[in-house]
């Protein structure tokens, strides 16, 4: 453990910036999200769960795959400096590991490079993540349903705790140790500081909601795939897609060409399984024409299919979709009702 006095935080961020493109939570026009910072003053150190998730650092809403023109196809130069992220929450760090299974690796055919996404890999592969402990979890946080927690360090390079006057920094990975090991602005932490962290951690843990038992979720959801409960649950959804765009693990995208004359670029753009055209075929046939089918797809993908394909849920319990939904469709309620559906014999409420 190291101690970083807040008086030297700016120095630290500037040091980090020499080697890394440093992203941190910022507030712009009242909305929070991650952006490149070059001084500590730019950082919003109070925000817990940012409105927009940090997935956009590694998987931007719109990204050039390549440019084309008279001279053929050219991919963009890869920026030299790798990415560092300060102030990323435990749930969001885990979302990146989840996305890494989809983009970064080739789970289906491990020997096959075709299934590795070069755009994701060049960003995520060399990144340095300074995770931030959640001292004051929000009522919409439910990361503990998925094995997470406000002090969970999975996937971080350095774990940080805001202890008031100073930050405590704990290296988690070798890469993290290497970076913070020799920094002059850090001092070794003492006994009393460690005690303080334990106290804060216990306090934070006590604020988490009751855990839901999800051991059987994958199988259970497949079992009730054809039950009428889905129509009922999805009735109020307006298919706006807000839940999927703010979600740190949703990864659906479209590929489009943007041309001007004979020049142009092929881009990939976030897309959403909540939109009917997402699956509509040229013939007019649409396998998920109904809202019910699309809501079911979102739930099945996150809590059943992903478990089967990647061995883990595609949800971190960050609560963003709960906060953003205009009709208050709360994914925690949806899950609870689905999981207890058989037991009740019917769905009430």
């Amino acid at each position: 453990m190291y101690r970083l006095d807040k008086g030297r935080f700016d120095e630290f961020i500037r040091l980090l910036g020499r080697e890394y493109r440093t992203y941190a939570p910022v507030r712009t026009a009242g909305r929070t999200g991650f952006a490149i910072v070059d001084s500590a003053g730019m950082i919003d150190t109070d925000v817990l769960v940012t409105d927009m998730s940090p997935k956009e650092i590694f998987f931007p809403p719109s990204e050039t795959l390549f440019r084309y023109g008279r001279n053929g196809i050219k991919t963009d130069e890869v920026p030299e400096r790798p990415i560092a992220v300060w102030g990323i929450r435990s749930c969001d760090v885990r979302s990146l590991s989840m996305l890494d299974r989809v983009f970064g690796s080739a789970v289906q055919m491990p020997e096959d490079d075709r299934f590795k996404d070069p755009y994701w890999n060049h960003r995520y592969g060399s990144s340095l993540l300074f995770g931030s402990a959640c001292i004051d979890p929000s009522p919409t946080c439910f990361c503990n349903w998925f094995g997470g927690g406000p002090f969970n360090k999975d996937g971080m390079d350095v774990f940080t705790v805001d202890a008031g006057e100073y930050y405590l920094l704990e290296p988690v990975s070798g890469k993290g140790q290497e970076f913070i090991g020799g920094l002059a602005c850090l001092a070794p932490a003492g006994e009393s500081e460690l005690d303080l962290v334990s106290a804060i951690a216990a306090e934070a843990a006590s604020r988490m909601p009751e855990e839901e038992d999800l051991k059987e979720a994958g199988r259970k959801l497949s079992d009730i795939f054809d039950e009428p409960v889905w129509s009922e649950l999805s009735a109020k959804c307006v298919n706006c897609g807000a839940c999927t765009f703010c979600c740190p693990t949703c990864h659906c995208f479209d590929i489009q060409d943007e041309s001007q004359g004979s020049e142009g670029r092929r881009v990939r753009i976030w897309d959403s399984c909540m939109f009917p055209i997402f699956t509509r075929e040229a013939s007019g046939h649409n396998p998920r024409a109904l809202s019910k089918e699309r809501v079911r797809q979102r739930i099945m993908h996150k809590y059943s299919y992903s478990l089967e394909n990647y061995g883990e849920f595609l949800c971190t319990g960050c609560g963003r979709c709960v906060l953003v939904c205009p009709v208050n469709l709360d994914i925690r309620d949806v899950l609870r009702r689905l999981l207890h559906y058989r037991a009740e014999g019917k769905c009430n409420g």
Partner: protein, 277 residues
Amino acid sequence: MDNSYVPIRMRVEKIAVEDPERNLRTYDLAFEDEDAGKRFNYLPGQFCEMSILGKGESPFGIASSPSEGDLLKFTVNRAGSVTGEIHYLREGDAVGIRGPLGNWYPVEKLKGMNVLIIGGGFAFTTLRSLLVYLLGSRGDYGDINVIYGARNPDLFIYKNEIEEWRTREDMELHLTIDSPVDGWSGMTGFVPSVTGELAPGQENTMAIVCGPPIMIKFTLPVLTELGFPDERIYTSLERRMKCGIGKCGRCNIGSRYVCIDGPVFSLAQLRNIPEAF
């Protein structure tokens, strides 16, 4: 590392118009870069994303067989924006492909077995690939029996080859059209009922079915009735696609992505997937 999003450059070598309405065209494409051609190893049933820069991409089954040589064959039905643009291509033009994508028909398992190929409409593309592949090492397989249906005689693709297949002694070809037409010497009726009428034996036989969704849907139960076990019925599915490599989240049926886990599935697999049909 390979970048799977960047298309391989191809040259349109030859175009054949397949029907009087000119909605179906077959393209033979040549690799501009010989090495890229050498690296492109595929099997019948796989597909490619064909790319028109500025317009986009669309997936098409590979209609050529790897046993035929270096040209790749695709048959494209004009359906919308990208396919419309493909129809404007002329011989000598450049076009991009990404692939080969997806899995393939179980050609290894077919060795020593009889093969029943059932196809409908212009979806005969990958079935042509399979048929040519099997005929290319004919000795490795038992009886080859093909049932191919189209709405009317004009809509069969690969008409020249059909003439040749018809006269071959080492395979059987049954053509059928939806309703009677003057001068038609083949069968009449939809593929599922014709399959029922012909009642091909299931013994040591693998059935491979590809066609419009409705044809597949009604043909599979006929095969089951004829005694084909689920493990010996294969079909190729279609879903709207973009990436073709299991990332964009669009083409799934249940937990399976048609672009990487398919497009070829056995009926045994499909039985366990919700919303497969």
